[in-house]
Amino acid sequence: MIEAHSKRQKILEYTVLLILTIFILIPFILGFWTSFLPTADISKGALWSSHLSLDNYVAAITQTPIIRYLFNSLVVSILTMLAQLLFCSMSAYAFVFLKFKGRDGLFYLVLATMMLPFEAEVIPNFATVRSLNLLNHYAVMVVPFLTSAFGIFMLRQAFLQIPTEVKEAADVEGLSHWQFYARVVLPYSRISLLTLAAYSFLASWNQYLWPMLTTFSDNFRPVQDGLRQLQSQETFNNWGMIQASAAIVVIPTLLVLFIGQHYFKSGLNEGAVK
């Protein structure tokens, strides 16, 4: 009786899991599958074609700047990530461990900027970067994001968890603020720093509107806008090659995600739930 019941339940559970898996996976599978098919077959709607080949990948790599786009994105994302780790942690340090007049007021001011979506400020920002001569360069995608209110807020929460006695012990040992910051606070908050690193990297990698407005050449265009470029060019109906390009873009991130999954999960939850 109990066995039969549990068997029925198992079947039910697997059915639910399977349906959800299909919903999540279908766009991936279809995309990857068609990336191996000749465009001629795809256009006829013959998705069950057996003319599988890597031709689309070869074409994407040789005929489009997709690799360059990836490289651009990597450069911009890594620079942004490093800058945010440094500047956000420094600011958070000041808000937690330095005592100065107006500290809390300043913190709330920084906090308030989280309410302002970057999307609503693109018009003056575009004018600013134009007058700074940053247009169409890596710098234009990095400089406005050197710091982030979210990062400062998150790291401040993390730094507040450090027991005051640790700070006192460091004071007795005679550590300067820079020493305490570099040798104690940063290693103490490794998990939060890694979370911020992942977050800022992804946020930069997924930037779309801003690079679209500020980059005009393939030398600097990041991958999100690169794919848009490919789609709007003559390759528009070359579905095979487009899918291959998408695959080239998504496979590295998926690999990173799967490898770092365990890590990511705990980090994200710490950042979000704590």
Binding site: K10, Y14, V16, L17, L20, T21, I24, P27, F28, L30, G31, S43, G45, L47, F87, M90, S91, Y93, A94, K99, F100, R103, L106, M115, L116, P117, E119, V122, I123, P124, A127, T128, P144, L146, T147, A149, I152, H177, N206, Y208, L209, V223, D225, L227, R228, W239, S245, A246, V249, V250, T253, L254, L257, F258, Q261, K265, N269, A272, V273, K274
Partner: protein, 318 residues
């Protein structure tokens, strides 16, 4: 005893005067800290000032002007821009479309995110595989998602319409019929959101103490009752957090729309941010676009404020 206490409080009142006369110079921590504060905070404050505070004020300023096609303010019009927007049927339609989109995306993301998290917690063989799959869309950037779904929704060769024709259902022109275009955008957005939402919910589910479920099982409570009366209340802060995050992100949606519908058909998917982009960078109407930016910022500020209130509560009660 009581008398002693009153004695002391009398002494307390007298003491501050004594204190000032006794006061010796203590080494000044604050001076050292002040100097450090400049170095530690300077870089961040500079960036925020240039790219957040200044543009905020500038946007507010521009929203009160007519501008030339270089973005320079020409004629001061006061609140005229606001008035013309709020009376423009086209803008109101955009606003309405945005709310429909945001609400649909948020609700569906929550429901499916919870469903995925709950399903991934089933104690079955291979649950690790399902967890990996469910978090998969986190690794998908906006342009890749757009390409995947453009193909799914393609009327002649896309999978959805191929299935429809096999089943003799009417073929839908997903991206060129107003109602269906919105549906397509919503589905794609939800799909893209699910990886992140799943991870957060799954993590939250793990924090619910097992003995609550054990107690429920002993009482003979059904699974669905357990879900609504134990799981949901226990993770309600996370649900709230995710819903507000999703709401805010949806208000800022731009990439999928640009790639999949370009605001069409007939402005059916011309959401707020896309409209700002069109008015400013395609039509050169910076004043009007600034006004739209201010309205967007106000809407998002309200929701972000809500989110803070909730986060703050949780941080303090932990």
């Amino acid at each position: 005893m009581e008398q002693q206490v009153t004695n002391n409080s009398k002494k307390l009142k007298q003491l501050p005067q004594n204190l000032s006369s006794l006061k010796t110079v203590s080494y000044d921590v604050n001076a050292r800290d002040k100097l450090h504060a400049i170095w530690f905070l300077g870089p961040s404050l500079l960036v925020l000032a240039v790219f957040v505070f200044y543009p905020m004020l500038r946007t507010l300023y521009l929203s009160l002007f007519l501008t030339n096609n270089l973005g320079k303010p020409t004629v001061f019009v006061g609140l005229q821009n606001y008035w013309s927007l709020l009376t423009s049927s086209s803008y109101l339609a955009s606003l309405q479309a945005t709310f429909v989109y945001v609400i649909a995306v948020s609700i569906l993301t929550l429901i499916f995110g919870l469903l995925l998290a709950q399903a991934a917690s089933f104690k079955v063989k291979g649950s690790n595989f399902f967890r990996t799959v469910f978090s998969g869309t986190m690794g998908v950037s906006v342009s890749v998602a757009a390409i995947f779904w453009l193909f799914m929704f393609n009327p002649s060769i896309g999978l959805l319409d191929q299935i429809a024709s096999v089943l003799h259902l009417p073929v839908i022109n997903w991206l060129t019929q107003p109602g269906w275009a919105m549906t397509a955008i919503v589905i794609s957005t939800v799909w893209m959101n699910l990886g992140f939402t799943f991870l957060i919910f799954f993590g939250a589910l793990q924090t619910v103490p097992v003995n609550l479920y054990e107690a429920a099982q002993i009482e003979g409570v059904s699974k669905s009752y357990q879900f609504f009366h134990i799981t949901l209340p226990m993770i309600s802060p996370t649900v709230f957090f995710v819903s507000i995050i999703t709401l805010i992100e949806s208000f800022k949606s731009f990439g999928l729309i640009d790639l999949m519908t370009a605001g069409g058909p007939n402005n059916a998917t011309n959401l707020l941010v896309y409209r700002i982009y069109q008015d400013a960078f395609l039509n050169g109407n910076y004043g009007l676009a600034s006004t739209e930016s201010v309205i967007l910022a106000i809407i998002i500020a309200i929701f972000t404020f809500l989110q803070f209130k909730i986060l703050e509560k949780r941080v303090t009660y932990q």
